[in-house]
Symmetry: C2
Subunit: 396 residues, 2 copies
Amino acid sequence: MRRMTARPANAHQARLLKLLRDGGPNSRAQLGDQIDLSRSKLAVEVDRLLETGLVVADGLAASRGGRRSHNVRLNPGLRFLGVDIGATSVDVAVTNAELEILGHLNQPMDVREGPVAVFEQVLSMAAKLRVSGLAEGFDGAGIGVPGPVRFPEGVPVAPPIMPGWDGFPVREALSQELGCPVMVDNDVNLMAMGEQHAGVARSVGDFLCVKIGTGIGCGIVAGGDVHRGVTGSAGDIGHIQAVPDGRPCACGNRGCLEAHFSGAALARDAVEAAQQGLTVELASRLEANGTLTAVDVAAAAAAGDATALDLIREGGNRVGQVIAGLVSFFNPGLVVIGGGVTGLGHNLLAAIRTQVYRQSLPLATGNLPIVLGELGPTAGVIGAARLISDHLFSPA
Amino acid sequence: MRRMTARPANAHQARLLKLLRDGGPNSRAQLGDQIDLSRSKLAVEVDRLLETGLVVADGLAASRGGRRSHNVRLNPGLRFLGVDIGATSVDVAVTNAELEILGHLNQPMDVREGPVAVFEQVLSMAAKLRVSGLAEGFDGAGIGVPGPVRFPEGVPVAPPIMPGWDGFPVREALSQELGCPVMVDNDVNLMAMGEQHAGVARSVGDFLCVKIGTGIGCGIVAGGDVHRGVTGSAGDIGHIQAVPDGRPCACGNRGCLEAHFSGAALARDAVEAAQQGLTVELASRLEANGTLTAVDVAAAAAAGDATALDLIREGGNRVGQVIAGLVSFFNPGLVVIGGGVTGLGHNLLAAIRTQVYRQSLPLATGNLPIVLGELGPTAGVIGAARLISDHLFSPA
DNA sequence: CAACTTTCTCCACTCACAGGACAAAGGAGA
DNA sequence: TCTCCTTTGTCCTGTGAGTGGAGAAAGTTG
């Protein structure tokens, strides 16, 4: 199949494409109710979209008491690739133009191996999805990396946990390999966009999305748009001081949030506790696997292990304290907690909520839901697909 | 003089009005260079603006090598009122449509006396400016209050330091009294808008404006627009925890930033130090005036008093620590420090800078100026005038 | 005084868009 | 089955937005 190259010619067409993406197949009449255009003008624009091939006819809809309408929908052959590169694993998914996931792969990987090795793996995963019949090529790809990105160019800048990527032209390189347009963003921002598109943050204009994985980051959505900051490092809350004169952090300071709570810190603390003989539960798991992760801590807590519970609570308190400050500052309408450690579930959430509701002003917390993300590991790839579709569904 | 009631009829006219406001009198030709419109269309819109009276002819400009151009400018008779209500004083100013201050009054006042008493004072100050020949009436007014505001309605909500104002219809009441459109906002947001319009933040799209007066607040500008949060309480950083288990705060928590550093906290600490005999300088001032303010501390520090210097440094460290967190989170392109305590000047700034540059990530601080506000006490009233002019210079 | 520049106005043409008339297609009751 | 009503989609015309060029008006420079 030949790939689509067309782009919307004007703002109306862009609007229509996004309505069809977010609302599925629809008739001209119903589209007219959602857009400020006359029936005649709308028909013209729809016809033009049909000519480009971005949109196709989709049969007759059921009658609503009169003549049946001719539905249109986004070309069902369109394929987006969503890539979410984490610190220790990579997710690759294929979606259709409505951003529904058609296939999804996840593989462990070390981002420190550098862009060349990682891209090799990403491309082979993409190829696997392609030969499985889900796609014959891609119309666009979005990719998230665990560090700051100079957004317009799609280039990582000074990423602490992936030094080899500094300045690597991710967008350009991937675009050449895949032969389609590519957009690059921070993985946390993509998670926020994912939850905004299809998760708990639907229809919320101002929210924070805190991702607790190997590290900690925060996606900021203000007025419906992601706030990236002047150098693309906005949301980098892992190195906010959480404990005065606290633990030394890899960044050179002391007491950083990340040094006290994150997937990595939690695992380290769990091993320590097990070795000190504080917890049989964790000790036996340590003996069995040779190492511990957040998953072990979650399981131990679920089994009633007091030490594991304490670790989670203490961590939640730290994160909650920082989030409380951010809530006072930003006054969001929603806080989403996501990332690898969401397996810690309700215990973590409870600790965070306690801190935020206690420390922030009532006006800011009065009607502030603090919830777990809904999409889990798919948030990132959905956000990636959303990123590229937002780009392609805008006038050229 | 009859007041203007016209508003721009479309986005082009709005754009032109703002160009004339920010750039002063100008010719059609030069306006055409700054706006994406053909000469002919532009001429039509300018003519329509001339008809409304918002814009007037302003004679011939000097030749630029050819025919001399007919300048136009905003009607020089337009008058905006800018009101900045602080915790302990009120500023009222009159500006022209180009937001130049024509007259400015400042009076002490206690905001806790409630809206009725305060408005009486504001109106009498406005009347004083009016009879002095600066204005015969106002075309619009902007007003800042020291607390959260439900922006669309112009109503303060749950303001901690001015409980009597909760729910008072400031916008409606003042609009009735003055007989002109009124917009209401948080005083810190207006300070940010002031510095953005005419101060250090010109041409910066993302910045923070920290106002340290009786309390502490932070104006947030993202993508050129003020971020107010979902309940209008964004930027309320005075109650972020700065010291774990620190001093008790009026809000009920402990260790809030405001409890450790602000105009009020600094004065209290200075009195304490004087009474403990730690500083001759401050003690003699205390004896002379019966009380101490931030101004006394600044003077003592300037005179070389070590205790005063310590107070300033310690306070700057506290604020700096909080700002460091906000910088990591928001990644601004500029941080402006303003408010009553800017008299503390370079000592304060040095302490803040030290903390931010040490604690935030290099990528976020690499090219981040941290400077004092340029406009001093006029920032608020200029911001207020800017607020109402932005409103009136938008299509109705 | 001639040649060149810049500014401003006028006019013709194109395109975007609204809104109404009308045809096509269906439903529901008599 | 027929009639009336509803909904959908198309066609056509009128209006206003906007461009671009021609040319007049007003300067400067040599």
